[in-house]
């Protein structure tokens, strides 16, 4: 599968290029190792052509099949590469493709596989058009007659599917990027479609527009910071390659101002995407305003991808400077856990609640990152898988609890839901318990793994803060459960619709993985530790 065609093609390029005077040597392009990303991007491009040429009624089905098929093929290809004996021959940590621009190594493949599976489930949610959460005509102003006409005609922007695939492709490239410029391109490729998708909610459109606008402006700022950081690091080392920055940082101690400014600014860009405090303020607004399937995609895939990129940059490029960045990241991790947990208590909107919970969880994963060890890396990877599946499942449940005007987001509407619909409320309670980290759920295993790794690296104080903020967080999760099961139902409360194949699969897979990783986490734990056994390739 891998590597056999590419060297031959490379040789052909080289001979052709050598014939001209002063030929530029072309970088090798290992198409087989880039396959998963190419499949996703290819499916997105075909999706754009479908939008252009397919008749309107055929579009939705075609797009859905194309997206799901592309993601499934990408997952299979990722597994094939991970099992390949050529890429990982003789205990090699992996391979850097396209002349060192893209790393193909075990942690990256693990992250990419996770992203693809979570994206598959999110696309199922996006494809559930019974109560389509997406606007019929995005160009029509809220409340205009054109909007009503579009709704009546059953119009739908099927461009959502290619946009999602472009975003997912960017998310797969983001943690794989082995030089900072490729990483920046990946960051933009994943962000731009997401900005657009955030503004497409059918109901409460002004809130959705506000979310898209805020996300775009703040995201553009953070991208600018990231780019400025790249410029600093380039000024310091004369290269944008992560490995070159690492080797310059090890040998050159003179220009450290440039280096530290570069670490701070690139770190800021990455921490923004993760939603770490104090770069978190976009998260509640965007998660609340975006259509719920898009929120599910952002809360799972984007977080996984951004953590992958953060791990790669800090472990590969700044791996020799642990003592310099650890204190700063320590403060950010503590702030993220505490602020996320404390502010979540005051939330009255279920999507905002999950947004603050996502901030707190980012802090827990940062604990694993701060361990700076293979155990830390593997625990962070495991945590991301556990958290991703629970989140997708929880947002899928939110799409099922409905008022006449849309989803019943306000928590007061959820009162007494357990009496009205015990199964759905029970599953949501299970997800909340997983977020809280109660044993027999994946949340417990994940927290245990990151805290254990952090203690092994001597970060006991951090773990104490982590455990305390877990306790605070558990309070508000349990409060929602109490609200659902022990309060009187509100009169004319929300209707709980029966899940169909799409949302049912999302809820089911989320709940099954959450339970499985709580009861029998060993296969995934050993897969994560196998993936983290060899760190990222430089």
């Amino acid at each position: 599968m891998t590597g056999t065609a590419a060297p031959a093609a490379l040789a052909a390029h080289a001979t052709l290029a050598a014939s001209a005077p002063g030929a530029i040597s072309a970088p090798p392009i290992e198409y087989s190792q880039l396959g998963p990303m190419l499949v996703v991007f290819g499916a997105a491009i075909v999706g754009v052509l479908v939008e252009a040429f397919a008749p309107r009624p055929a579009r939705r089905g075609t797009q859905l099949a194309l997206s799901l098929g592309g993601l499934a093929a990408a997952f299979v290809w990722t597994v094939v590469i991970a099992a390949s004996r050529q890429v990982f021959a003789n205990g090699s940590p992996g391979h850097t493709a396209i002349g060192g621009a893209v790393g193909v190594d075990r942690p990256t493949l693990f992250i990419q596989g996770t992203i693809v599976v979570l994206a598959f489930i999110s696309v199922l949610l996006i494809g559930d058009t019974r109560f389509s959460p997406f606007v019929a005509q995005a160009a029509a102003p809220p409340g205009a007659t054109a909007e009503q006409e579009g709704l009546a005609a059953g119009a739908m922007h099927t461009e959502i599917f290619p946009l999602t695939l472009f975003a997912v492709g960017g998310m797969m490239l983001f943690p794989a990027a082995n030089d900072l410029l490729t990483m920046f391109v990946a960051l933009e490729v994943l962000s731009l479609p997401l900005y657009l998708l955030c503004g497409l909610a059918r109901r409460r459109r002004l809130l959705s527009h506000e979310a898209a606008m805020k996300y775009f402006l703040l995201g553009a700022f953070s991208s600018a910071f990231f780019l400025f950081g790249i410029a600093m690091l380039y000024g310091f080392s004369g290269s944008v390659s992560l490995a070159a920055i690492a080797s310059t940082a090890a040998s050159n101690t003179s220009n450290s101002t440039l280096l530290f400014a570069g670490i701070a600014l690139t770190g800021l860009g990455l921490l923004f995407k993760i939603g770490a405090v104090p770069f978190h303020s976009w998260k509640p607004d965007v998660y609340q305003g975006a259509p719920t399937p898009v929120t599910a995609l952002m809360a799972s895939c984007t977080v996984v991808s951004a953590f992958g990129a953060l791990l790669r940059v800090f472990y590969v490029a700044f791996g020799n400077l642990t003592w310099d960045w650890r204190p700063a990241l320590w403060v950010i991790a503590v702030l993220t856990m505490v602020v996320g947990a404390v502010i979540a208590i005051t939330q009255t909107d279920v999507k905002r609640l999950l947004a603050y919970s996502s901030i707190a969880h980012a802090g827990f994963v940062l604990t694993g990152v701060l361990a700076v060890s293979t155990a830390g890396l593997s625990s962070a990877l495991f945590y991301l898988v556990a958290y991703g599946f629970t989140t997708v499942g929880a947002f899928a449940v939110i799409t099922l609890v409905r008022d006449p005007g849309g989803e019943a987001d306000h928590l007061s509407r959820w009162a007494g839901l357990g009496r009205r619909s015990p199964v759905v409320a029970g599953i949501f309670a299970f997800f909340l318990l997983a977020f809280a980290g109660i044993p027999l759920t994946s949340g417990f295993t994940g927290k245990f793994a990151v805290f254990q790794a952090a203690i092994a690296s001597g970060e006991t104080a951090l773990v104490i803060v982590g455990v305390l903020s877990s306790a605070i967080a558990a309070f508000f999760y349990v409060r929602v459960i109490v609200l659902m099961f022990f309060s009187d139902p509100v009169p004319d409360g929300p209707e709980v619709v029966l899940p169909n194949v799409f949302s049912g699969t999302a809820v089911g897979v989320g709940a099954a993985v959450t339970l499985l990783l709580g009861i029998a986490p060993q296969p995934v734990l050993s897969l994560a530790s196998h993936a983290a056994n060899q760190l990222f390739v430089g």
Partner: protein
């Protein structure tokens, strides 16, 4: 520092020329007041009328401008490729064809969905 001297001199010349022209323009130029001159500039004399209560606003300029940028960027990539065509060889050709095809996909989308029609 000597390396940067020409840049500083060029910058000074630029600033000097700009301020000189603006200053002399206000001194010497004739002034005829006209309402349109004080309105916000928007690709033409008449700013696009904003419908009361927030209805639809035409985005024709916007679509055209965005399309222009797509093809502008394409040209930016094509020029250096054309100059180094011989040196890059078959590799460059394959990559550039891939790039142009992806741009054409976007073009096909715009064409089929009516982005090229003015009215």
């Amino acid at each position: 520092m000597r390396l940067y001297l020409p840049i500083f001199i060029l910058a000074l010349l630029g600033f000097g020329f700009a301020s000189f022209s603006v200053f002399m323009g206000t001194r010497l130029g004739p002034k005829r007041w006209n309402r349109a001159k004080l309105e916000s500039y928007e690709s033409g004399i008449e700013p696009t009328p904003h419908p009361p209560g927030g209805g639809r606003i035409p985005v024709k300029y916007y679509v055209t401008a965005m399309l222009f940028i797509v093809f502008d960027i394409e040209i930016i990539f094509l020029y250096p490729w054309a100059v180094t065509f011989n040196k890059l060889g078959a590799f460059g050709l394959v990559e550039m064809v891939t790039f142009v095809i992806t741009v054409l996909v976007a073009y096909a989308y715009v064409w089929r969905r009516g982005g090229l029609e003015w009215d």
